[in-house]
C-alpha cells in the first residue's frame, strides 16, 4: 500500500487544493446568494442577461472560461489591472487566481441551488415578519436566510466539490505552479498524460475523492440538522 502515500510535493498540492476550494466556496457565497435573490425577486431589464452570464461557465468549455478569465483578470486585463492597482488584488499566477477560477466555475451551481430554495420560501412568512416591524433586510436575515439554509448548504458543497475537481479553467488562467497554483486536479492531469502515470493519478484521485466525500457527508449532516430545526419534529 505504499503507493497510496502521497509524496511531499503531492501533499503541497492537496493542501493547496483544499485552501483554494474553501476560499472559492466562501468567496462566492455572498455574491451567489445575492445574485440568486436578484434573479428570483428582481424585476429589472437585464435579468435574462444576468441569468445567462451566470450560466456561461457551465456552457463554455472550461478552457474557454479560463481564456476569458485571463483576458479579463490577467495582468493586462481591464479588471485585473484595475483590481491590482486599486486593491492590490493580483490573480495571475497566484493561488487567488485558482480560487477565482474555481469560484467562477462553481457559481452557476451555487446560484441554482440557492435560487430553487428561494423560490420555495413561503413569502407569507416574510410578510408576517414585515408586519412585526422587520425591515426587508432584517426579514431576509432572520426569516428568508434560515429557511433557504439547506439550499445554501447544498450550493456550497456543490461549489466545493466542483472546485476540488476543476482543472481546465484554472490551469488555463493561472497555469500550474507547484505550491502556488498547481491544484490536485492539475497534478492528476499531469499523471494521466504520461504512460504509466496511472498509479499516481489513482492515488491523488482517491485523496481528492476522500476529501470531497468527507465534505459531502459533513454537509448532509449539517443540512439535516438545519432542516430538522426548520421543520421541527
Amino acid at each position: 500500500m505504499e503507493w497510496l502515500t502521497p509524496s511531499p510535493e503531492e501533499w503541497v498540492a492537496i493542501r493547496l487544493s483544499i485552501r483554494v476550494s474553501l476560499v472559492a466556496m466562501a468567496g462566492s457565497l455572498v455574491p451567489g446568494v445575492a445574485v440568486a435573490l436578484l434573479l428570483v425577486r428582481g424585476r429589472f431589464p437585464g435579468r435574462s442577461l444576468l441569468n445567462g452570464l451566470v450560466h456561461l461557465p457551465l456552457v463554455l468549455p472550461p478552457v474557454v472560461t479560463g481564456y476569458v478569465l485571463l483576458l479579463l483578470f490577467g495582468r493586462r486585463g481591464p479588471l485585473g489591472a484595475f483590481l491590482a492597482e486599486h486593491f492590490g488584488l493580483v490573480f495571475s499566477f497566484r493561488w487567488t487566481g485558482a480560487a477565482l477560477a474555481c469560484a467562477v466555475m462553481g457559481f452557476p451551481l451555487l446560484v441554482r441551488a440557492v435560487r430553487l430554495s428561494i423560490e420555495a420560501v413561503d413569502r407569507r412568512l416574510e410578510e408576517a415578519a414585515g408586519t412585526l416591524g422587520a425591515s426587508p433586510l432584517f426579514v431576509f436575515a432572520t426569516v428568508t436566510l434560515p429557511l433557504i439554509l439547506p439550499g445554501v448548504v447544498a450550493g456550497m458543497i456543490l461549489t466545493f466539490a466542483k472546485a476540488m475537481g476543476e482543472f481546465g479553467a484554472t490551469i488555463t488562467f493561472v497555469s500550474a505552479i507547484p505550491g502556488e497554483t498547481q491544484t490536485l486536479p492539475a497534478a492528476i492531469y499531469a499523471f494521466t498524460q504520461v504512460p504509466g502515470g496511472d498509479t499516481g493519478a489513482l492515488r491523488l484521485t482517491l485523496v481528492s475523492v476522500a476529501i470531497s466525500m468527507a465534505a459531502l457527508l459533513g454537509s448532509e449532516v449539517l443540512a439535516a440538522r438545519v432542516g430538522r430545526r426548520a421543520h421541527a419534529t
Partner: protein, 375 residues
C-alpha cells in the same frame, strides 16, 4: 384613534370597494366567507397595495394614492394576527413571540412575555417549534406574537375560530382589556356575531366587496335582516331605560321606563345613567292581568300593536310600551286564547334582558354578554 379607510382593489373577478371610518377602540369587520375581509385587512397592513384610495390610522396616513404615500409595512407598526397563524417554522415558540421585540422600545409594563404567555396558556410550549403545536396552540402563539410587537393598531383575522369555548372565554376578556386599558385600537375580523356583539362598539359589514352597513353591532344586525348572518340573532327589540334605584340588599338595580320597571342584577351603573336593553321576543310573556306571586320582577304595561304569524305555530306580537316597541313571540294558540287584538292593554313579563353595548361607552360600565343578567 380613528381608522379611516377608503380603498379600491381588484383581485381577479373580485372587486373590493370599501370606505368606512371608525373612531371606536374596537371595530369589527363582519361578513360572509369571501366577502373581502381578509383582502381589506391586507391592504391596511400593507401586504397588498390598493389600486387607489387612502388609509389612515389616527393622524398617520398609511396609504394615499393621490398623495403618493405608501408607508412600507414594517413602518406601519400594525400587529396582524393572520387567519392562518404563519408562525416562523425555524424559530422556537419563544423566539416567535419575541420576534417583534427587536423593533420596539423595550419599555416596561404591559404586554410582556410572561403575562401574555400565561394568559394564552402557552407557557409549556415556549421551547417547542411551531411544527409540534396543535391548531389552537398555533393560533394562540400568533396572537401573542402580534401583541408583543406593541403595535399601534391590531388587526385580528378570525383569531378565535380555532379555539375552544373555554379558551375563547378566557381570551375575550383579555382582548377587552387590550381595547379598554392598553389603548390599542383593534380591527377585528369575525364571522361570529356573538363575538362581535361582545367585543365591538362598531361593526362594518362587508358583502361582496362593498360596505353594506356600519354601526352598533346589534342594531346593524337587526336592521340587516337581509344579511344572512343576522339569522343567528334572535328577533328582539331595544328599550331605552334609566337606572333609578339600587337595592343594596339584593344586589339589584331598578331600571325605569314608561310603562314600568325592570330589575337587573347590580351593575355599577351610576344612578340617572341611561342604558339600552335588548329584549328577545322569546323572552317576553304576555298576561292579561298583572301577575302576582310570581318570581319575575319585570312586568311592563303595554298595548298590543300588530301581530304576524311566525312559523307554523307561532305569532310575533308587537307591543307599545310607553312609546317604545317590544316584540313578543307566543304560540298562535295563546294568541287566540287570550283574544289579543290591536290596542288591547296587556302586561309584558320579561324573563331576561341583555344589555346593549352602547352603554359601554361610559368608561365605568363594564360590558356584559348579550345573554347577561336574568332578573
Amino acid at each position: 384613534m380613528t381608522i379611516a379607510v377608503d380603498v379600491a382593489k381588484r383581485l381577479g373577478a373580485f372587486e373590493l370597494r370599501a370606505a368606512f371610518r371608525s373612531g371606536e377602540r374596537l371595530a369589527a369587520l363582519f361578513g360572509p366567507s369571501g366577502s373581502g375581509k381578509t383582502t381589506l385587512v391586507h391592504l391596511v397592513a400593507g401586504l397588498a397595495r390598493p389600486d387607489a384610495g387612502r388609509i389612515a390610522v389616527g393622524d398617520t396616513v398609511l396609504f394615499d394614492s393621490a398623495a403618493g404615500i405608501d408607508v412600507p409595512r414594517h413602518r406601519r407598526r400594525i400587529g396582524y394576527v393572520f387567519q392562518d397563524a404563519r408562525l416562523f417554522p425555524h424559530l422556537s415558540v419563544r423566539s416567535n413571540l419575541l420576534y417583534g421585540r427587536w423593533f420596539t422600545r423595550a419599555t416596561e409594563g404591559e404586554p410582556n412575555l410572561d403575562s401574555v404567555v400565561a394568559l394564552l396558556g402557552i407557557t409549556h410550549l415556549l421551547g417547542r417549534r411551531p411544527g409540534a403545536l396543535s391548531g389552537g396552540e398555533r393560533q394562540r402563539v400568533a396572537i401573542g406574537r402580534a401583541l408583543l410587537a406593541r403595535p399601534r393598531l391590531l388587526l385580528m383575522d378570525e383569531p378565535l375560530s380555532a379555539l375552544d369555548e373555554a379558551r375563547k372565554a378566557e381570551i375575550i376578556p383579555y382582548i377587552e382589556r387590550l381595547r379598554d386599558e392598553a389603548g390599542i385600537p383593534i380591527l377585528y375580523v369575525s364571522h361570529s356575531l356573538g363575538e362581535v356583539a361582545r367585543l365591538a362598539a362598531d361593526m362594518v359589514v362587508l358583502d361582496a366587496g362593498r360596505v353594506v352597513a356600519q354601526g352598533e353591532p346589534l342594531a346593524v344586525a337587526r336592521r340587516l335582516d337581509l344579511l344572512p348572518a343576522a339569522a343567528e340573532v334572535e328577533p328582539g327589540r331595544f328599550l331605552d331605560v334609566v337606572a333609578t334605584r339600587r337595592d343594596e340588599r339584593y344586589g339589584l338595580t331598578t331600571l325605569v321606563l314608561e310603562g314600568g320597571e325592570i330589575v337587573v342584577p347590580d351593575l355599577d351603573l351610576s344612578l340617572g345613567q341611561s342604558v339600552r336593553l335588548r329584549v328577545r321576543a322569546r323572552d317576553v310573556m304576555l298576561a292579561l292581568e298583572r301577575p302576582v306571586g310570581v318570581s319575575a320582577l319585570n312586568v311592563l304595561a303595554a298595548s298590543v300593536g300588530t301581530a304576524r304569524p311566525d312559523g307554523l305555530s307561532g305569532m310575533e306580537v308587537s307591543l307599545d310600551c310607553g312609546g317604545q316597541e317590544l316584540l313578543a313571540r307566543i304560540t298562535r294558540r295563546s294568541f287566540d286564547e287570550l283574544r289579543l287584538a290591536p290596542g288591547m292593554a296587556v302586561f309584558a313579563v320579561l324573563k331576561s334582558v341583555s344589555f346593549d353595548r352602547r352603554f359601554g361607552e361610559d368608561a365605568d360600565a363594564r360590558p356584559v354578554a348579550p345573554t347577561g343578567g336574568s332578573p
